[in-house]
């Protein structure tokens, strides 16, 4: 059965990373719920594997943005001081917070993502895409939000794009393509800061994380390719539904109810 599980993990990562790539987000937000609820994998193991997936998606997708000059690397390294600090704190909290609270927080983040996806990101009038002299505003607020994003990333094994992108859109007032590219660039470092600690603790199981990593790389590359050819509206609606279902599932799990039959 052992090869079967690995194929399943590979497929999950491929699918979720492709979907994540289509929406311009990392796959962690889908991987953790799927692994825990359908794969019956322990939450900490799922989070560890998901962090690897986040790193893989970030690294695999970064090159085109960097070459296109969309990633603001200087802003990224500055904001990474806040996200890695958050990750450092999250690594500690993850060991202290009981699983059902983690599930509850995760459910809230899924709801927030669904809400964010429904309200389409508007193009602000003051910003045009790419260079043309945008300025970075309200840095302290941005840094605070980034700290929160890093904390959630380490706690839940997600890329926290859901928190980073609004931080950059609304607090820092960056053009949308710049904030997407810069967020993608940053999530790898943030996830690496906590993944190293999870690895040292033995929470990254090779048998789970290795197929996930390969699936993620492939999914991220394919997702980015398809993204260029798709109009997002139907896709968006479908995703809001998926996020709501996953959120409801995690909420129920947080309160000890699981609709999917599970081994005791």
């Amino acid at each position: 059965m052992h090869g079967g599980l690995e194929l399943w993990l590979f497929a999950v990562a491929l699918g979720t990373s492709m979907l994540g790539g289509l929406l311009g987000m990392a796959s962690g937000i889908f991987i953790v719920p799927v692994l825990t609820m359908f794969g019956r994998i322990d939450l900490h193991t799922a989070i560890g594997a998901s962090l690897i997936s986040v790193i893989a998606c970030s690294c695999a997708g970064a090159a085109p943005f960097l070459k296109g000059g969309l990633t603001n690397v200087r802003l990224a390294i500055l904001l990474e001081t806040a996200t890695t600090c958050g990750a450092l704190c999250g690594v500690f909290l993850a060991g202290l917070i009981p699983t059902r609270y983690l599930l509850f927080i995760f459910a809230l983040i899924l709801l927030l993502s669904a809400q964010q996806m429904m309200a389409r990101r508007k193009v602000p009038s003051y910003a045009s895409d790419r260079d043309s002299g945008y300025s970075v505003e309200r840095l302290p607020l941005g840094m605070t939000l980034m700290y929160g994003a890093g904390l959630m990333s380490a706690l839940l094994g997600i890329g926290s794009g859901v928190l980073k992108i609004p931080a950059m859109d609304t607090a820092l007032r960056l053009p949308i393509k710049v904030s997407s590219a810069t967020s993608n660039f940053m999530i790898g470092v943030t996830a690496a800061a906590s993944a190293g600690a999870y690895f040292a603790r033995g929470d990254i199981l090779t048998s789970v994380a290795a197929p996930i990593a390969l699936g993620s790389v492939l999914g991220a590359v394919l997702g980015a390719r398809i993204l260029m050819k798709l109009s997002g509206d139907k896709l968006r609606t479908m995703f809001v539904c998926i996020l709501l279902i996953l959120s409801a599932q995690m909420m129920l799990a947080a309160f000890g109810i699981n609709l999917i039959e599970r081994a005791p």
Binding site: G3, E6, I52, I55, A56, S58, C59, A60, A62, A63, P64, F65, L66, K67, G69, T71, V73, R74, I77, L78, E80, T81, T84, C85, A87, L88, V91, F92, G188, V189, A191, A192, A193, S194, A195, G196, A197, Y198, F199, A200, R201, I204, T206, S207, A209, A210, P211, A213, L214, V217
Partner: protein
């Protein structure tokens, strides 16, 4: 700050190339490990683990590359910021171990 060529080396394409090749290397090692695991079991898994460690280190190497670039370019403020990020990551690795 003088640089080797006529135009200064750009940081972004270099980082893009680093992440691209790093991803290929780490993925190849993981794939090799999983393939070996089919025939040799635990030994193959250990190779796959090396690939996972490469993935975890890739963003850290990226920060190190930025640190070196900023110092060479005389952008000491950003060099200091990169050094700070680097130390937070290493602290997290160190404190995360039980």
């Amino acid at each position: 700050m003088k640089t080797h060529g006529t135009s200064p080396p750009r940081l972004e394409p270099a980082l893009g190339a680093l992440l691209y090749h790093g991803t290929i290397l780490a993925s190849a090692v993981i794939a090799l490990g999983l393939a070996l695991a089919v025939g040799f079991g635990a030994a193959g898994m250990r190779v796959a683990t090396v690939g996972l460690v490469l993935f975890i280190l890739l963003p850290v190497v990226r920060v190190a590359a930025m640190l070196i670039f900023f110092l060479r370019a005389g952008e000491y403020k950003f060099g200091a910021i990169a050094a700070l990020v680097m130390s937070i990551i290493l602290l997290s690795f160190y404190l995360g171990a039980p």
